[in-house]
């Protein structure tokens, strides 16, 4: 039953996404403008770091290649999730205007419908930018590429995307109760990816502990990246903690799934 539910969800997700991509391509000019605009936004986002490094050689003890590595990994992981789940912040609006009901009368899981709704291909801009910067940093980093480090790189990106996905889903679930509070989600998603673009040494250890034990954003890229870069853990955790990223990701997704189920149940018992 659970397996067929997952299959149905993925199938519906693919169907709806396919439809949106086709409809986006019907307005090709508009799509190109939006994609370029998105790319420009993300480029300017990195321009801050470029401008900072025009004045200094290191931030928090990390040089430009290292900060770019952090930026590239954070941005790629976030970009993957934003592409796949970016529409989830519209849940609150759907609850308010009553269109959530129309999703509940269709024979496919609601989560898949919400995630695929208004799928915006233009969001690949961030992934392109993230991968490009990651590539640049890899060429300029001075890293001893042992097999564990090579392995950790893709694992980090996928786990990071999954942790962000859990945040998107949990944030959307929260909107079943607080339908006006979509912006809270941005604090954790956009705020999270911005924070992770900088070295953990820039922030206070309390803040690093908070994003380790309360909201485990540090597993998106910080801890795995520190292992790859051969740097010590800022809050004294063992060096291999970066390898726990997939486990953390699975736990986050499970919790987010529970939160989503609870949110949907609350909606179906109150209707508002």
């Amino acid at each position: 039953m659970a397996e067929s539910q997952l299959y149905q969800g993925l199938r519906a997700y693919a169907l709806i996404v396919g439809m949106w991509v086709r409809s986006t391509m019907a307005y090709r000019t508009s799509f190109v403008i939006m994609a370029l605009g998105n790319l420009a936004i993300t480029a300017l986002d990195f321009a801050v770091i470029g401008l900072m490094f025009s004045h200094v050689d290191a931030l928090g003890g990390f040089d430009l290649a290292e900060v770019t590595f952090l930026y590239g990994t954070s941005s790629t992981a976030f970009g993957l999730t934003d592409l796949a789940f970016g529409s989830m912040e519209r849940v609150g609006r759907r609850v308010r205007d009553g269109t959530m009901d129309t999703l509940l009368v269709r024979p496919v899981p609601v989560l898949a419908q919400v995630a695929a709704d208004r799928f915006a291909l233009r969001r690949v801009g961030r992934i392109i930018q993230g991968v490009a910067l990651l590539g640049w940093s890899l060429a300029h980093l001075d890293v001893n590429w042992t097999w564990d480090r090579v392995l950790l790189l893709p694992v980090m990106l996928l786990s990071g995307a999954a942790i962000f996905a859990a945040l998107f889903v949990a944030g959307a679930a929260f909107q079943f109760w607080a339908s006006d509070a979509a912006e809270v989600q941005s604090a954790f998603t956009y705020g999270g990816t911005t924070m992770l673009q900088f070295p953990p040494t820039v922030f206070t250890t309390e803040l690093v502990r908070a994003v380790t034990f309360v909201l485990p954003l540090a597993f998106v890229n910080w801890f795995p990246a520190l292992h790859i870069l051969g740097r010590p853990n800022p809050i004294g955790l063992p060096d291999g903690i970066g390898f726990a990223a997939p486990l953390v990701a699975v736990a986050c997704c499970a919790l987010a799934g529970l939160a989503w189920g609870a949110g949907l149940r609350a909606y179906r018992s109150t209707g508002s």
């Binding site: 508009s30 300017l44 607080a178 006006d180």
Partner: protein, 266 residues
């Protein structure tokens, strides 16, 4: 005049009803304030007088940016989408036949929104910032008054820019692209993502001459006491000049748009 005052008031009340959204916005602004503040600390740690600011001034700039983000509509929003929707649906034809000035009407609504968001979304992040970080806030009430005037003029310039962007909906099928480009320019050239005096050489000079500087950089420098005497008058003149030029451009574009509506019948 009384009509526009009523529009300001009703727009203020309308935004005041979104309590949860306001609280959520304050929370997000505060979180971002913390993140950006620590990155600036790392930067100013290496270059203590970067851009002529000391650390306290840099911290003030960070929190001021978060406090004005909503009120000055640096990320867009406000009346823009609503106006574009009316253009798209053709309802704007009705607006044009009403005995009110279209630009003033939307300005009044945006002023009401800005006043609420200045109070509702500006004050709390600023207080949070002041509690945790050492800020360079002025003691003189006169400086605060000048600052408020600079903020008001900045909002006027912001409105004039967004009005121009909104009007593009008369010609473009989808306003989303224009909106997005407008947000990119506004975030970069207002000083929101990095103070303009940290920008190097010609880029810095250009950025300081563009209208977006009037929205955040100028009010921040007024608050930080960077403009005094004749310099202060010059700063206000810069804001007023851009406001007049852009509002006039808005009227020109609006009359072109009106002709288009009249000719095509909506």
């Amino acid at each position: 005049m009384r009509l526009y005052t009523a529009v300001v008031a009703s727009s203020f009340r309308r935004y005041a009803t979104y309590r949860a959204a306001t609280a959520a916005g304050v929370f997000t602004n505060t979180v971002f304030g913390f993140i950006v503040a620590y990155t600036y600390i790392a930067l100013w740690d290496q270059r203590p007088h970067l851009g002529g600011y000391d650390l306290a001034q840099a911290m003030t700039f960070v929190w001021l940016g978060q406090a004005l983000l909503a009120a000055s509509a640096l990320m867009g929003g406000g009346f823009q989408e609503e106006f574009q929707e009316r253009i798209r649906s053709g309802d704007v034809a009705v607006d044009l036949y009403r005995p009110v000035d279209l630009q003033l009407w939307w300005l009044a609504g945006d002023v009401g929104r800005a006043i609420f968001q200045l109070l509702g979304r500006g004050i709390v992040p600023m207080i949070f910032g002041a509690l945790v970080f050492d800020l360079a806030l002025p003691a003189s009430p006169l400086t605060w008054l000048c600052f408020l005037l600079a903020v008001a003029l900045g909002i006027l310039v912001s409105f004039a820019l967004r009005y121009l962007v909104a009007l593009t909906a008369f010609w473009l099928l989808d306003g989303a692209g224009a909106n997005m480009i407008s947000v990119v320019l506004s975030l970069f050239f207002s000083g929101m993502i990095l103070p303009l005096n940290v920008f190097p050489g010609a880029l810095g000079e250009t950025a300081n001459a563009l209208p977006w500087a009037a929205i955040l950089q100028v009010p921040a420098d007024v608050l930080l006491g960077e403009h005094q005497g004749a310099g202060l008058v010059g700063a206000f003149a810069f804001q007023v000049g851009w406001a007049i030029a852009l509002l006039a451009a808005g009227r020109l574009l609006q009359s072109a748009a009106t002709r288009k509506v009249v000719v095509q019948g909506g």
